[in-house]
Amino acid sequence: MPTRAEPPPLLSRRLVLVTGKGGTGKTTLAAALAQAAVAQGKRVLVAELGRDAALPRLLERTPRPLGYPERQIAPGLFAIHIDPFEALAEYIGLEIGLPGLVRRVLANRGFRQLMEAAPGWRDLIALGKVWHLEQMREAGAPRFDLLVVDAPATGHGVTFLDVPRVVMSAVRAGPLRHHTEQVEALLLDPRRTLVLPVALAEELPTRETISLVERVRQLGLPIDRLVVNGLRPRPAPEEVGDLAAWLERVPDDLALGALPRPSRMAACVRALEARHALCQRYTRELLERTGLPIVALPYLVEGIRGEADVAVLARHVLASPIEAWR
């Protein structure tokens, strides 16, 4: 593969939008990025847009639900759940006032159901809030050095990022047009923004990630690497050769103390090798089909139980991405 200039450091941006298929570990990656940035002394805000509030469990010793506006959850680390109705109330409040009336209308169940039917506004208002947070200043400096957004799952994830463009084609003038332009400018600015897809080395997530990357490129959004989560290590060094077959040549009734019989050991080796081979195959496919370098995150046997596990991933997140398949 041709060598490329290494992409700029992950945390040099102001805004990282973590996106990917559901179940690939978007929230975990967002938490790991945030933790890594805090460790570098940055002031970080993580924003969760979905309804499943997993972030506190990953970042806090005693998890408490996230709300609106943001709250500090650790030194240098803030988190917010961007509820579209809250963000809408805030926006309308800032633009036209009448907070009492606006709140009353927004609290109505029928109104909320009706609003659920309206296309696009939730995404736009959430992105608008992200922009608003990016713009916040404190004593002349940005209030947050880095914003990490746990974006909606793909399918929906790309529509989400396309909303400002769609709105701009429909709205020709006025404050909304003006605000949307600013949101769009932030999203398209490679110095400030990065779209960071996360994938698993499995068939469906690989397929969806490849089409996600295509779409992100069509939209002109900044993208420079992929994260592949849950990669399994090579079970035995290459020079050992086919370990399972070798074990199967050992007489199966041989006493080996507390070790299982050779055929059972061979079965363990084969199971691990099969998973490793699938990881390799889909990682290679992702590299070849997207042309993007890959940041590999290891599979953690016990899953992600809390801060300590997130810290393990945080160490890998900032590593130089793999450029080509060895």
Partner: protein, 395 residues
């Protein structure tokens, strides 16, 4: 025929539920194939199969009309002549269109609804309405009585059981005061509070109109007006579908993965299913790391003397020069590593298993993780046979 299988396949409909990424489609297809092998006419309705699985089921080309798998392929897998397997892939959008087409009172209404921009977003509008329309399609196929058993793969959704509540929610919405205010402003204009509320709502809606594109309010009113006429038919059908899902004709199979997140979600599903009063047949834990025999997986690292003994045995079993002690180290590590995975899965699934079995006559089945992606009928057949065998043991 055997008792366990008979119980599992005694229903006319089996609904597979579970969160995304656990292999629901695979399990649904495996169950349908297993049913065909007992001589039943089985149909599997899938939602979004992986490409190679779709190919295996002959779904690559076809839409939502059930199509049969070739007789000779089925015979090779042990399906007797009386058994058959059809597969269909649900086109969610078309299904919803079909619902409108059936319920709309006249062609003009139908056209108005289908062309309405809000209609295009109704699926987002009421969480679960797409899932519900999938159930509508199942109901339709059920009424045809072409099949002994219909196995349904449910859509991956954030709240995957929404289809059970969706019709109710849609009806409530149509009945709500706000909708009446929007559709028939004249009726409720008498009350001052209502008028104020209406004015406020319209103000906010107009603001939102700018955000979401032009003409939103108008589109909504038009959609609601058109849909209003459909409400009685919709209500009637919704009630019939609901009754079918809760009847003895329908069983539910919960599918879960061994990951902690999946187990947590499965426990939540379980509680909701029980809340709805539907019949949970059992749980399939998919892609579980199982120990290769009946013995218990060893704990901790291997003893150095055992590894040394293994190195000697490996050296004796290979031509000289191969790195036997390195191989012995690697083998011991693989054993410890795989044993840790097996124990992790056991631990994670333990609580779920207890909960499922406590519910009485339910089967529990852990399907081992296969070394390849499941993408052919043979693997489906293996998984199906595995589940069937477990159902037997439980009977």
């Amino acid at each position: 025929m055997s008792e366990g299988m008979d119980r599992l396949f005694a229903r006319r409909i089996l609904v597979c539920v579970g969160c995304g990424g656990v292999g629901k489609t695979t399990i649904a297809a495996s169950l349908a194939l297993a049913a065909a092998r007992t001589g039943r006419r089985a149909l599997v309705i899938t939602i979004d199969p992986a490409r190679r699985l779709a190919n295996a089921l002959g779904l690559a080309a076809l839409g939502d009309e059930p199509s049969p798998l070739p007789r000779d392929q089925l015979a090779a897998l042990g399906v007797p002549p009386s058994g058959s397997l059809h597969a269909s892939m649900l086109d969610q959008k078309r299904t919803f269109d079909g619902l409108v087409e059936r319920l709309a009172s006249d062609p003009a209404t139908r056209r108005r609804i289908l062309a309405n921009p809000i209609y295009q977003h109704v699926s987002d509008a009421l969480a679960g309405s797409v899932e519900y329309s999938a159930m509508e399609r199942v109901y339709e196929l059920y009424e045809r009585r072409d099949q002994d058993l219909i196995v349904v793969d449910t859509p991956p959704a954030q709240h995957a059981l929404d289809f059970l509540e969706a019709p109710q929610r849609l009806l409530e919405f149509l009945d709500s005061r706000l909708v009446h205010l929007l559709i028939h402003p004249a009726f409720s204009a008498g009350r001052l509070g209502a008028r104020w509320f209406q004015r406020g709502t319209r103000l906010v809606l107009r603001l939102i109109e700018q955000v979401s594109g032009v003409g939103f309010l108008e589109d909504v009113s038009e959609f609601l007006l058109a849909f209003e006429g459909m409400a009685p038919g919709f209500r009637q059908r919704a009630e019939r579908v609901r009754a079918l899902l809760r009847s003895r004709e329908t069983g539910f199979v919960l599918v879960a993965g061994p990951e902690q997140e999946s187990v947590t979600q499965a426990l939540a599903f379980l509680a909701r299913l029980e809340g709805f009063g539907v019949d949970l047949q059992g749980l399939v834990a998919n892609r579980v790391r199982l120990w290769p025999d009946e013995s218990l997986p060893p704990r901790g690292d291997a003893r150095p003397e055992d590894v040394a003994a293994l190195a000697r045995a490996l050296a004796a079993a290979a031509p000289p020069g191969r790195p036997a002690s390195q191989a012995a180290e690697a083998a011991a590590q693989c054993v410890a590593g795989y044993a840790a995975l097996v124990r992790r899965d056991e631990r994670a699934l333990g609580a779920l298993r207890e909960r499922v079995v406590a519910g009485g006559q339910r089967f529990w089945c852990a399907v081992p993780e296969l070394s390849q992606d499941v993408c052919d009928l043979e693997s489906l057949s293996r998984i199906g046979a595995f589940i069937a065998a477990r159902a037997e043991e439980m009977a």
